[in-house]
């Protein structure tokens, strides 16, 4: 009996050693690899869809060829990207570098999931490592306590794409520098045409039979943009409060609600069913606010011009700047190779997409060189970058954003919510999310 017992116990011991050996096997092989001074395999996660991934692969292939340190392997998965990288980063998934939205970056950087690259940056002479060359605002999401945890590869301001053909047909002059909310509304009304050919500014206009609309909005463009244009803010600079109840903000939200409920914007149902940007491409909507990188003017069959978004009533210009970037997994096994890959890839993307968040590259000359097909639109885009603002990201920004959307914006957009009634209720809820850790 005793013999049996000891026999069995030793078998179990052997088995568990084998098992632990199994799971360590992979890292063992990796260690051997780096000892041989071969190129480290750097896994890159992105959210690119099929087409974008193909273009990205071309860039990666070039980089891999010329680098002695790393070999980037692309792993693109658009579906539920945020959750995926969260799980991969929290596990030992072997992820090295990854694309990250500004919102996620501030969340992950604060939680220590991203590698601190401040020192690496200051000791590198790579052009993309020159922190002073970046627009200060674009670095914000990657900063925590004055340390940098990633680099942005894109800052794209929202611009106004217009269907010039429809403008001509309706006899509406092209937007110019004097455009503000009033002029914008005027144009939108004249560009909303019903089944009888009447536009929204004329009497006898029948909204139900509208065939063409001046504008479209479904929560995008973000209401924050209008708040800024009116001189207000949704989160105070010191994060102490959410001043959505200031008169300026109130006005902006009302303007937004009027847009949605008014005749110049299609019903939300219609937008959902026919596709938000599809409607602009199909010429059912005359004006569209999209990211500068969308490059709509080269995708549509009609004459499309890129203009700056209208200024607020008092002439204040503001637009939303969406920032996308890349970070290194704090748990990466090859920090140096990953850093090199990060710099090279970031720089490459700066030369690929519109707009690079770098002062040296965001000039008319550089942009005309890199994107000659968009030279007509460049001035508007570069101007927009000057006054583009980001959201005030912080560690628990998703919590705040969740309330902002579900309690304020969703009701306004989808349920004819009245900003005047909603704002007093939502403000304290938002403030809670600012205070709470």
């Amino acid at each position: 009996m005793k013999k049996m017992l000891t026999g069995v116990l030793s078998l179990i011991l052997v088995a568990s050693i084998l098992l632990s050996g199994c799971s360590n096997g992979k890292t063992g092989a990796d260690n051997k690899k780096s000892e041989k001074k071969e190129k480290a395999t750097i896994r890159l996660a992105t959210w690119a869809g099929a087409d974008e991934a193909k273009e990205l692969q071309k860039i990666i292939d070039k980089l891999n060829e010329s680098s002695e340190l790393y070999k980037i392997e692309q792993d693109s998965n658009p579906a539920d990207y945020d959750t995926r990288i969260t799980t991969q980063l929290s596990g030992n998934g072997g992820l090295d570098i990854f694309w990250v939205s500004a919102q996620r970056a501030s969340q992950l950087a604060a939680k220590g999931a991203m590698l601190d690259i401040t020192d690496k940056l200051s000791s590198s002479d790579h052009p993309a490592a020159d922190v002073s060359d970046y627009f200060e605002a674009s670095l914000q999401p990657f900063k925590k306590d004055d340390k940098l945890y990633g680099l942005p590869w894109l800052e794209q301001p929202i611009v106004l794409y217009i269907n010039e053909d429809l403008f001509k047909k309706a006899g509406v002059p092209i937007p110019d520098d004097s455009w503000n909310w009033d002029k914008f509304m005027d144009a939108a009304k004249k560009l909303t045409i019903d089944g009888n050919g009447k536009n929204a500014a004329e009497s006898g206009f029948n909204a139900e039979s509208a065939k063409q609309w001046g504008f479209t909005v479904n929560g995008w463009p973000p209401a924050q943009m209008f708040v800024w244009q009116n001189g207000g803010d949704v989160i105070a600079p010191d994060f102490s409060t959410s001043p959505i109840d200031s008169p300026e903000a109130m006005e902006a939200f009302k303007f937004y609600a009027d847009l949605i409920n008014g005749p110049v914007v299609p019903k939300q149902q219609i937008i959902r069913d026919r596709g938000f940007d599809t409607m602009f491409k199909d010429q059912q909507v005359a004006m569209f606010m999209g990211g500068a990188a969308d490059n709509l003017e080269n995708q549509v069959k009609f004459k499309c011009k890129v203009c700056e978004v209208p200024a607020g009533p008092s002439g204040q210009k503001a637009t939303f700047g969406d920032v996308l970037g890349m970070g290194i997994n704090a748990k990466t096994k090859n920090p140096d190779a990953a850093f090199a890959a990060l710099l090279d890839l970031t720089d490459a993307i700066h030369h690929w997409k519109v707009m690079p968040p770098r002062k040296s590259l965001a000039t008319m000359d550089e942009m005309n060189k890199l994107h000659p097909e968009r030279s007509e639109s460049m001035q508007a885009i570069i101007n927009s970058l000057e006054y583009a603002k980001l959201y005030r990201y912080y560690e628990n920004y998703p919590d705040w954003d969740n309330i902002f959307w579900t309690q304020l914006m969703d009701p306004i957009v989808n349920n004819h919510g009245d900003p005047e009634k909603l704002i007093p209720v939502v403000k304290p809820q938002l403030d809670e999310k600012l205070v709470r850790k």
């Binding site: 099929a50 596990g91 992820l95």
Partner: protein, 281 residues
């Protein structure tokens, strides 16, 4: 006289309702295939088109080729085969233990097993994730297949136990007299007796692993490891892009097909498997 006429009418009404409901059930299947065969423009045609003209048969091939579904198929099959094998072996053995053996605490343990059926999976979702995380096995197939060996299907254990208990104990005793060990009795005497149940459970477990969405979504981070259900998610579009409905329906049809075929083939035993668990002891 009156009775038989009434009976006739009753019967006709029954038939009408039964057939009517059957048609209602079949409509979504029909619609799924119909949508799969539509071109992008036709999907939202008003009034809704029942039969697309002309049917875009190439949508099936296009959808399949749009993403590496062959790879996703092998991933799915990998999970299914490993999961099914582990579950069927472990669960039959565990059920055997509950059915034919007595030991201290058996009834309490069995009761606990039954009550786990009532446990909402979200209570254990996060800690389970954390456990797999600490083991370094997140972003891998392990969380989806390793537990199959620990008989993680209480419903199937219950079902199998019922079936085992339905076999006369005399058969076991006779085998024992012939010198068979409990395991031999299990393999040679009992298992053959419950073939219908085994088939039913085989089909059920196949369906479970084949259709699983939440598990792969949480634990498979690598695009390389996606299952077909997750792969199909790509066609859902994004904030500014509407879903590609025809591809979605084409893939759904393709994904549903194996189960439907399997089901038709094993149908008789299948229903028996479900119904037996419903019978009282």
């Amino acid at each position: 006289m009156k009775n038989s006429k009434g009976k006739m009418i009753g019967k006709i009404i029954t038939y009408i309702i039964v057939i009517g409901l059957a048609i209602i059930i079949l409509i979504p299947f029909f619609w799924m295939i119909s949508t799969a065969l539509k071109s992008d423009a036709d999907i939202f045609a008003w009034p809704p088109e029942w039969i697309p003209r002309p049917p875009q048969w190439h949508n099936f091939a296009d959808a399949w080729n749009a993403m590496p579904f062959s790879k996703y198929l092998s991933n799915t099959l990998f999970i299914v085969i490993l999961g099914m094998t582990g579950e069927m072996i472990s669960e039959t053995l565990v059920a055997y233990g509950f059915a034919r053996f007595d030991f201290p605490g058996k009834n309490v343990i069995f009761f606990i097993l039954l009550s786990t059926m009532m446990l909402p999976f979200h209570v254990t979702l996060i800690p389970t994730f954390v456990i797999w995380n600490k083991l370094g096995l997140v972003n891998n197939f392990d969380p989806l297949v390793l537990r199959s060996w620990t008989a993680w299907g209480p419903f199937y254990i219950f079902l199998l136990r019922q079936f085992f208990m339905g076999i006369p104990i005399e058969l076991d005793e006779a085998a024992e007299i012939d010198g068979a060990s409990p395991l031999q009795t299990f393999y040679h005497i009992l298992l053959p007796q419950i073939k219908p149940a085994l088939l039913a459970i085989g089909v059920f477990t196949f369906k479970g692993y084949w259709n699983d969405f939440l598990g792969p979504m949480i634990y498979l981070g690598d695009a390389e490891k996606y299952t077909m259900n997750i792969g199909m998610y790509f066609f859902m579009g994004g904030p500014n892009e509407p879903p590609k409905w025809n591809y979605l329906m084409a893939m759904s049809t393709i994904i549903a097909l194996p189960i439907i075929i399997l089901f038709f083939a094993a149908q008789k035993y299948f229903i028996e498997g479900v119904t037996f668990s419903g019978l009282k002891e």
